[in-house]
């Protein structure tokens, strides 16, 4: 075992152990916090009173603590009267609701409800009054969409927050515009329709359903785009590229300078 002792006594051993520890923690954390696949769509159909009753039961059990027993809101959470089925479906199918804790913003996380349960709660909330309905599969289909117009609209009205590549970005007071890399077409449609949290509303009278499909087509098409440098670097543009360029490039230059000027060992 002398080689282990020899390795341990090398000057770089300490750094190597710290680096190994950091990598292990980072990879472990990343593996544990990876969010699950988003729930598939609840099939829209006729709404039976039983569905609404089931939804109400689920609501009282899982949502009423914050939103109130009658869904009219409390000091902690807003009223859900009139938000519509689309808002509920967006919040629950992305795992944002039920919330784990009340922070600056709800994070996307693994979905805890089945599509049928989400459908039931959405119909219950919709029965309280109005609001946009959950879009059908045909409404969010991107076949034949005008990706160019979608890009134009996305760059004009979405990219400031969500980044030109849909990678998301920071807002004020800990809020952020989430990345759109995992969003399903239906969730993107619902988000535009209902304006979750800090996001503005893009109603069908302003951005028509066809134009919404164009935007969705652009966002989903982006995911298939190749990364010209070989690495995506988070696709957030100059920030990561600059960090890599600076640390990588300058680091290499520093090491080269050290190598050139290094004192020669006595031979």
């Amino acid at each position: 075992m002398s080689w282990i002792t020899a390795l341990r006594r090398r000057p770089a051993a300490g750094y190597a152990v710290v680096l190994l520890g950091l990598v292990t923690i980072g990879v472990g954390y990343g593996a544990l916090t990876t969010s699950g696949s988003p729930a598939s769509a609840a099939s829209p159909g006729t709404v039976s009173p039983q569905t609404i009753a089931q939804g109400q039961e689920l609501f009282v059990r899982s949502c009423a603590t914050c939103h109130g027993i009658d869904a009219r809101g409390t000091a902690q959470a807003p009223s859900l009267v009139g938000v519509g089925a689309a808002a509920v479906d967006f919040q629950m199918s992305t795992g944002r609701m039920p919330a784990k804790d009340v922070g600056a913003q709800m994070d996307r996380k693994p979905v805890t409800f089945t599509p049928a349960q989400i459908h039931a709660v959405a119909e219950y909330v919709a029965s309280l009054g109005g609001g946009p309905a959950v879009p059908s599969a045909a409404q969010v289909s991107t076949s034949g969409a005008n990706t160019a117009l979608g890009q134009n609209l996305f760059i004009t009205d979405c990219a400031q927050c969500h980044n030109f590549d849909g990678a998301g970005g920071a807002l004020t007071n800990g809020k952020y515009a989430p990345a759109l890399t995992e969003s399903t077409p239906k969730q993107i449609y619902e988000a535009m329709l209902t304006g979750p949290e800090a996001m503005p509303v893009f109603s069908d009278t302003t951005i028509t359903p066809a134009q919404k499909r164009d935007i969705i087509a652009y966002i989903t098409r982006l995911r298939a785009e190749p990364n010209p440098g070989g690495f995506s670097l988070g696709r957030i543009g100059p920030v990561t590229e600059g960090i890599v360029g600076f640390i990588g490039g300058i680091g290499v230059l520093v090491f080269l300078a050290m190598w050139i000027t290094m004192k020669r060992r006595k031979s």
Binding site: L149, N152, L153, T156, D157, Q160, C161, G169, L171, T172, N173, K175, A177, G195, E197, A198, M199, P200, V201, F202, S203, T205, T206, I207, T208, Q211, P228, W259, I260, M262, K263, R264, R265, K266, S267
Partner: protein, 360 residues
């Protein structure tokens, strides 16, 4: 000019010795101690002792290094030939072909330079001797004698040329050079017309419809009725004119009743006469350096600039909450036409975008 004499205060051999640094650990001993020739009996001391050893300290290591360096130089040569071959051989008539060509050219050129540099470094480090040498700095000033000689030459030259004694020549020469110096300044005039009032105006005027930028469709106030809505609009008829859009692009935001803060005398706020049914229009061009401000948080009613995080309060006449922007976003007076479509009722009443000299 007299011949330069060696400065008297240059260090002598003894002084040099006393000022030499202590030997640095890891470096070979000073050259003096390595003068093996002088130690041999029977040989005469050379007048100027060798300062650098003729052969490397470790011949075996130097031999290895020599091979590596030669290999690197040959690699560089091959890479350079490859660069020429890639330049001549690779087509650049399509995007993909250009990408391949760029990759080949960049890679071969990098390897060519890097191999020469690495070879040179290894050469220096492993074959050339590593001897510290000290060269004392010379006195910067010339000697008294040199300065006196220069002064004499200058004065004699000035007198002989007649520059002092013939004022006519002197003055006409100065008269000739003044217009010559002014000429380049006159050329600056052609750097273009001054912007005039174009920085103070956009194409917005009374009755011009606002269209949703992208699909370029006009928008009814009734179709923009949900609080929390925001959209980018452009002046109708100018949606393809980037020069116009660069100044005229505008965002409109719909607020719930009672959220907007009306301006009062001496107080900042939203000019309510310029709004329609709680719809407010602001210039989308940041007053800092002109980035598009469209990060609108419908919960806090803040408008953020993505470039430098300037934050404006959309309810309060876009007053600055944070960031480097020097003044609020200009508000555009809007109304509706007979068909209910959103229109501008005039141009912006103040210059949009970043400050400029004449803005004051």
């Amino acid at each position: 000019m007299s011949e330069t004499q060696p400065s008297q205060d240059l260090p002598q051999e003894d002084g040099h010795q006393s000022r030499a640094p202590h030997r640095v650990i890891g470096t070979p001993p000073p050259a003096q101690a390595r003068r093996v020739l002088a130690e041999e009996p029977g040989t005469t001391t050379p007048e100027s002792p060798r300062e650098l050893p003729a052969s490397p300290a470790n011949p075996a290591k130097a031999k290895t290094a020599e091979r590596i360096v030669a290999a690197l130089f040959i690699l560089s040569m091959l890479a350079s030939i490859g660069f020429i071959a890639a330049y001549v051989g690779l087509e650049v008539h399509s995007v993909d072909a250009t990408l391949r060509s760029n990759l080949a050219l960049g890679l071969s050129m990098s390897v060519a330079f890097l191999a020469v540099a690495a070879g040179a470094t290894i050469w220096v480090r492993n074959i050339m001797p590593d001897v510290e040498q000290i060269e004392e700095r010379h006195t910067l000033a010339s000697t008294e004698k040199q300065r006196a000689a220069f002064k004499k030459t200058f004065t004699e030259g000035a007198e002989a040329s007649g520059f002092v004694k013939r004022p006519l020549l002197r003055r006409t020469l100065i008269a000739a050079s003044v217009p010559l110096a002014v000429a380049p300044l006159v050329i600056l005039r052609d750097m273009g017309p001054l912007p005039g009032t174009s920085l103070r105006h956009t194409v917005w005027r009374k009755g011009m419809r606002m269209v949703v930028y992208g699909p370029n469709t006009p928008l009814r106030a009734a179709d923009f009725s949900i609080p929390g809505q925001m959209i980018t609009v452009a002046p109708e008829g100018y949606t393809e004119n980037q020069d116009v859009l660069a100044k005229a692009v505008t965002i409109i935001i719909k607020f719930a009743p009672g959220v907007l803060v009306p301006n009062r005398p001496g107080q900042p706020g939203t000019i309510m006469n310029w709004t329609v049914d709680n719809i407010v229009a602001y210039s989308k061009i940041c007053t800092h350096v002109g980035c598009p401000v469209a990060l609108y948080e419908q919960t806090t009613h803040r408008i953020l600039c993505p470039c430098h995080q300037s934050t404006f309060d959309a309810t309060n006449g876009a007053q600055i909450l944070f960031g480097p922007a020097p003044r609020p976003l200009p508000q555009l007076p809007i109304g509706t036409d007979a068909d209910g479509f959103l229109i501008a009722t005039s141009d912006f009443h103040e210059p949009i975008g970043p400050a400029f000299w004449e803005l004051g």
